[in-house]
Amino acid sequence: MKRRWSLLLLLCLLLTGCSAATSGEHLISAAEGSGAYSAALLPFLPGYALRDGEDTLYAEVSQGSAVTCFDVQAIPAMARGVGRYWYPHVLATVVLAVDRTRTDAVITGWNSLREIGVPVGMSSFSVVRNMLAMGALSYGLDPEKPSKRDALDFLEHLCQSGGFELDGSDAPVLICLDYEAAAWNRDGGTYEIIVPVEGTLSYRMGLLSDVPLTLDPGLDEALLAAGLPLEDGEKPSGFPSDYRSARTLSEEDYDRFLILTGDSSRDLRRQVFHTRLYTTADMREHILAALLITAAILLWKGTVSHRMVRHDIRRVVNVLSWLMVGWLLLRLFKYQLPQEGALCRVCWYGYYLFQLALPVALLYLTEILDRTEGEKRLLRPLWPPFVVYVLSVLLVMTNDLHQLVFRFTPGGSWASDYCYGPGYWIVMVFSLLFLASALWRLLRQGCQSPSPRGRFLPLLFCTGLLAYLAAYIKRVPLAWESDLTVNICILSVLFFEAVLHGGLIPVNTQYQRLFASAPINLTLLDADGRTVLSSPGARPVSRSVWQRLRTDMQQPLLRDRDTQFHAVPVRSGMAVWQEDLSQLNRLQKESQDMQTRLEAANALLREEGEVKKRLLAAEANRALFEQLDRDMERRIASLSHLIEALPEEARPGNLTAYITLCLCHIKRRCNLFFLARQGEPLPGDELGMYLDELAELARYGGLKTLLRCGQIGALKIRSAALCYDFAFETISWALREEASPLMGYLEKEGSQLAFRFLPGGNPGRWQFSRELTAAVSALGGQIVCKDLDDAFGICLTLPFGGESSD
């Protein structure tokens, strides 16, 4: 970047600061035709030296010189702050000088020129003289409403009828200043000086200076002696006597005059001579066109560089562009040099530095088209053209030493009077050879292109180039009169565009559309982090994010909680795409919410389960106790009656023993009740212990009891409870009936459990409780009383494993 600015600064210095800043007291003869006036004036300006103008009139004045010029130059300049002192001395009138040796046509004024059919010329083609003549003509043709249009139409008519030349000093009729014609006559000329009867203008010629001038006396006499008419109207001999139709401009006329005569040179060329229709016609247009084309080339360079994918081709575009821009700017610089000096000539030679490089650059472009980028072997065939280019430039730049390229007389007017030497033709042949080679390669590659456009566009370009060359040779105005430099630049650009649009160069012109329609949020960043391309939905990548991505592209990066950046390196930058995490975040949040809700629901269900469990337990307890109450209610009620009857009992001992037996029974039944709820079996030993307890208590009542329990193993609670109840009821009956002794034996017989009692009395009148018999029947068992001849037996049988199958 710094280098670019340095180059630009250098260019500005070259364009603006190269003029020599001369200072000192000089008399500058700026206005053409003022040589005699300056020569007459010089002796009256002590300390001043006569010098030709090296810069514009205004620059010379601002540098302290006294400049001879016309009032139409001086007065507007003073009004704009250039020059403070104006000394008019001479009155110059635009007249017609008719060479009577060549024509005897009757000429009285402007309009008579329309009919004589004799060539008319201007004595000079300088810009100022054109302005003076155009002003005089305009005022002459219509003194009330002078217009440039009338003057131009008049001159165009002259041009078409009899001929009109700008530099027509040998024409029979000349539009010139009166003192010039008088001087020609003094030198032997035979000019009739005619002041046009329609009217003309007289201009004051004098000195413009920034400092007051002190002129020695006797100037008027000297001027008259030099053949110059004085500003007050006094004229030397040889001038017409009647100047009534001539008028001078007043203060308020100058602005109008400048409007009338502005761009006179351009208008004369275009509207009178119909030349320069396709190129610039005056200095202002030269400068503006150069700047405009330069800007257009730089713009083109920017757009093409933007479209290019390959870096080597982008470099070619840069080189081409800078060559064209350099050429145009050098030409612009040369235009502004006031004299045809050595610097101007070096600039002229410098044109070839750029011009000769363009074919080489185009050749290089066609060479790299069908090669991959960075291919080394490409350099070898391009060495010869480059060496030839360097040698050609050296040959041209050293032309002053050998005159092989351009031949002109040293010290002469080289700009207009020169011819081409053999070096020029050699250089041009090589340059054209390179161009032809580039065109041939372009055509060949176009023919190999698979796309019709790739074949058509190179062909079209070559056809257009041939047409231009043919038109140039045939001097068709569009080709012949147009600017050759600009045309070469345009052709170079067209060459490149033909290659580009022919599809021979990979371009990225569709990337904009691709990005515009890309559903993914993608951004392309250059090496400096600037966005090159971006899809519509992509959010901008901040500087800090870019810096972090540049450090480590492997790690994705959060822009915010809903956007994540991913990056991959690309040439000279990176591609960044944005992943939208909002859906994922939303799903994650929903999942988290769902999990929270589920956890809460689970906790609620757990609590509900526990509550239900507690309720069920309470309910079960309640049911249990209700069942226990129902189970024990009859026994407790019976026990209560026995206890109430105890005081009236005759043998309270037996009743007390029976009550104790009942209490024991209730206790063990409660045990069995709860064991039944637990679902656990009752070991045979424990049942035996219960039975022993009953037998022990029965003994307190006087009943001799012997109960034995065989190896029966664990019993189901229900079977054990029935056996226990059976034993209790049997012992109770024996105690009440005093059926002592009582022997009982519990054993397992096959699949049956048998509990046998042998009481000491007859159990015939005894009835077991309905609950017991019902329970035994329900379990598939039975209670049987048997008469055993000398004893009675009571037997309870139950299925051992539970209910019987029948």
Partner: protein
């Protein structure tokens, strides 16, 4: 402010470099500090036996990097005097009466220009 920033700095460092981020509490965008490479990143991978030493160096450099990131963030973040939130320059407005975050300024109808766009 420094302590507030320190508490908001999120560690995005890896074994190769140190980087910290701060999230604007208004727009939600993350700002990332300049990445500072770990001086022993290359050696640490080659010398596993010096792991303990390199870990210590890593922690020391990370602390320094965190301080630097805090200083860097201080130039880009401000604390809203009303809501006390940490906001980036794009969300912090220079108002006539008092500089505020964008949301507070909108709530109070205070016009202002953002510190940075």
């Amino acid at each position: 402010m420094t302590s507030l920033l320190s508490s908001h700095l999120e560690d995005c460092s890896t074994s190769q470099y140190f980087c910290f981020s701060v999230r604007c509490e208004v727009c939600g965008e993350y700002w990332y500090s300049s990445s500072i490479p770990f001086s022993k990143a290359a050696q640490a991978a080659q010398h596993q036996e010096k792991k303990e030493l390199y870990d210590a160096i890593y922690q020391r450099e990370k602390e320094r990097a965190k301080l630097a990131a805090g200083q860097e963030a201080r130039e880009r973040f401000s604390q809203c005097p009303v809501c006390r939130r940490l906001v980036c320059d794009a969300c912090f407005l220079i108002c006539d009466e008092m500089d505020l975050c964008r949301e507070c300024a909108a709530r109070m109808k205070e016009p202002g220009e953002p510190v940075a766009t």
